[in-house]
């Protein structure tokens, strides 16, 4: 009886890859957070001397959260988050703007890929700890070195992921496009890029998360003037011994990351309705912006298709 109940429970809860309802997923996530909080509370309860873990290592939840208003007001949390976000966004956007076209080209033309592969190899394996001082030498103490750091840290990955995504599109789509009369350029722009786009987008979404981590590394290098940003703040807290603040920042960062990731996920869903369902708002938007451009091209290049004339029969040799 007991074992069969356990059996049933296990069967129900641990069925291979059975989808979880959204409500249950959130509930389970909350349960995990509560469990961690309880563990944290248990480890740090009581007077400072009698705690399992001393306050110097881990302040109690109450102590930590009581510092939140200080972090928010005196240390301008929002401003610092925005400063950090701006740096990482500019650097990453730059990496996308340069990396995706190069990556797509490399994916389409193996010769170009072969030519670029040493650079991609170096870029992917470049030690970030060495890039940082170099960027400071080259771009000085201002914003530029941080933006460029993010750019250098991510561009090679963007290139290789974009190239990979294009190369992974099955050759049969190219064959199909060609037999429907598409030119090479049309095959790239109408078939290869749109089919690879979801993969490229996912890869970039993940990389943005990584870049968000890298930027704090760059910010934690202290140079003459005040730089701001989360990494810089952490540095200050470290020097002053503000443990609570550091723990709070550790909690804040994933939340910021979560919000950004949700925004990106929304964009992804709206761009690729063929994968994620829905009405594809952004896809429609993209298409609407292409229509005038396309009509212009129709005006210039339009040839009467054989299907609209009797050309098909006329052309036949008699």
């Amino acid at each position: 009886m007991n074992s069969s109940f356990l059996d049933r429970l296990l069967r129900n809860w641990l069925t291979l890859r059975r989808p979880v309802s959204r409500l249950q997923a959130i509930g389970l996530g909350v349960a995990c957070i509560l469990l961690c909080l309880t563990g944290w509370w248990l480890l740090t309860q009581g007077a400072a001397e009698s705690r399992l873990v001393g306050p110097l290592t881990l302040p109690s939840p109450a102590e930590t959260f009581s510092k939140f208003s200080e972090l928010w007001n005196d240390f301008a949390l929002t401003r610092n988050v925005l400063v950090t976000l701006r740096r990482v966004s500019i650097g990453f956007a730059l990496a996308l703007m340069i990396g995706i076209p190069i990556g797509v080209t490399a994916g389409c033309f193996p010769r170009i890929h072969a030519f670029l592969s040493p650079l991609i190899m170096i870029g992917r394996n470049v030690p970030l700890a060495a890039v940082l001082p170099l960027m400071i030498f080259i771009f000085g103490a201002g914003e530029k070195n941080k933006v460029m750091f993010i750019f250098v840290a991510s561009v090679a990955f963007v290139i290789s992921d974009a190239a990979r995504a294009i190369m992974d599109v099955s050759a049969r789509y190219i064959d199909t496009a060609y037999t429907l009369g598409a030119s090479r350029w049309q095959t790239i722009s109408k078939v290869l890029v749109p089919l690879a786009a979801p993969t490229i987008f996912s890869a970039c979404r993940q990389m943005f998360g990584l870049a968000f981590g890298y930027i704090m590394l760059a910010e934690s290098i202290k140079i003459a003037d005040e730089v701001g940003g989360l990494g810089y703040q952490i540095q200050i807290f470290q020097r002053r011994g503000f443990r609570e603040h550091i723990y709070l920042i550790i909690l804040v960062i994933p939340m910021v990351a979560l919000v950004i990731d949700q925004v990106l996920a929304w964009i992804q869903r709206q761009l690729f309705p063929h994968l994620y369902g829905g009405d594809g708002m952004l896809r429609s938007l993209v298409r609407i912006t292409v229509i005038p451009w396309e009509s212009l091209k129709s005006l210039i290049f339009y040839r009467t298709p054989v299907s609209l004339s009797s050309a098909a029969t006329e052309e036949r040799p008699k």
Partner: protein, 291 residues
């Protein structure tokens, strides 16, 4: 090749030999002159898929011919089809000439439309956008091509109102193949190449698709090359059937088939239809046991 002179088998007539380009007076739509294709030539894994293939498809005035290609698996049917399409790596041939309307094939083009066995719908495009892809490449104005697209969606037996804006993953296999066929036919290609297009469909859908294909083929007047493993399908659809030998493949026999007079389902019960089918089946069984 020493074979008995033309032999009648039910609806079919087995020609005494596969016709060569020199013998055919009418203009040639497709001709192969001693075509050999060796994959990975010069490497350790080199493999000759077809050897010395010669045949000709004539341009019958007022209607294109429907050619079916039958043969054991791996004998080089797709190789021949893709050579006509001009697709790599089958194109270019290792030796010999592939000519379309008297001109050597230099690469793929929309004059030779192709329908593949596996569904190659562009997943990111709706049904309508898939069907009008070729027109889009010709820079046909949007309104004009959407209108034509809807017309073809309707002709293929799909529902314009409900299906036109679906994405391929929302369609059944049969519907996807209808989209693929519409996408090809809308361009009115001179030659339509079909590589087992109905291979993955259930028998009933398959019969319906055969009837539909015959109807549309008459309308577009193209020469069709149709590869299939189903002998019934070949005899029903084909004006001509090519039987291929084991690899390295050559064309072993050419059959001329009387045009079908009724629907696929009814034709398949007639004795003379069956006689042709049995003849071919025996041939292929023999070929496969010799493998």
């Amino acid at each position: 090749m020493s074979q008995s002179p033309a032999q009648v088998v039910g609806m079919g007539t087995v020609l005494d030999h596969v016709r060569t380009p020199q013998e055919v007076a009418l203009p040639h739509v497709v001709e192969f002159r001693n075509v050999t294709k060796t994959y990975n030539a010069g490497k350790a894994d080199e493999f000759t898929a077809i050897r010395d293939v010669t045949f000709v498809v004539e341009d019958v005035v007022g209607k294109g011919e429907f050619i079916c290609v039958l043969g054991p698996s791996g004998c080089g049917k797709s190789t021949i089809l893709r050579s006509i399409a001009g697709l790599e790596p089958q194109h270019p041939a290792t030796s010999g000439e592939v000519l379309v309307l008297g001109q050597p094939v230099v690469g793929p083009g929309s004059d030779r439309g192709m329908v593949f066995q596996d569904y190659t719908s562009f997943d990111h495009r709706t049904v309508l956008e898939n069907v009008t892809f070729g027109l889009e490449c010709l820079h046909t104005p949007r309104r004009q091509r959407d209108e034509l697209g809807r017309e073809w969606i309707h002709k293929m037996g799909l529902n314009v109102a409900t299906d036109a804006h679906k994405y391929p993953h929302e369609l059944s296999g049969g519907m996807r193949q209808r989209v693929a066929i519409a996408r090809t036919l809308i361009l009115k290609p001179r030659i339509i190449l079909m590589d087992e297009p109905f291979g993955a469909l259930d028998p009933l859908t398959r019969l319906n698709m055969q009837d539909l294909l015959v109807k549309l083929w008459k309308e577009v007047q193209a020469t069709v090359f149709f590869i299939t493993h189903s002998i019934e399908e070949a005899v029903f659809l084909g004006d001509r059937v090519y039987l291929m030998s084991n690899s390295p493949g050559t064309i072993l026999e050419e059959l001329k088939i009387e045009p079908a007079t009724s629907s696929a389902n009814e034709m398949q019960r007639q004795p003379k239809f069956l006689e042709a089918v049995y003849y071919i089946r025996d041939k292929i069984t023999k070929l496969e046991s010799n493998q």
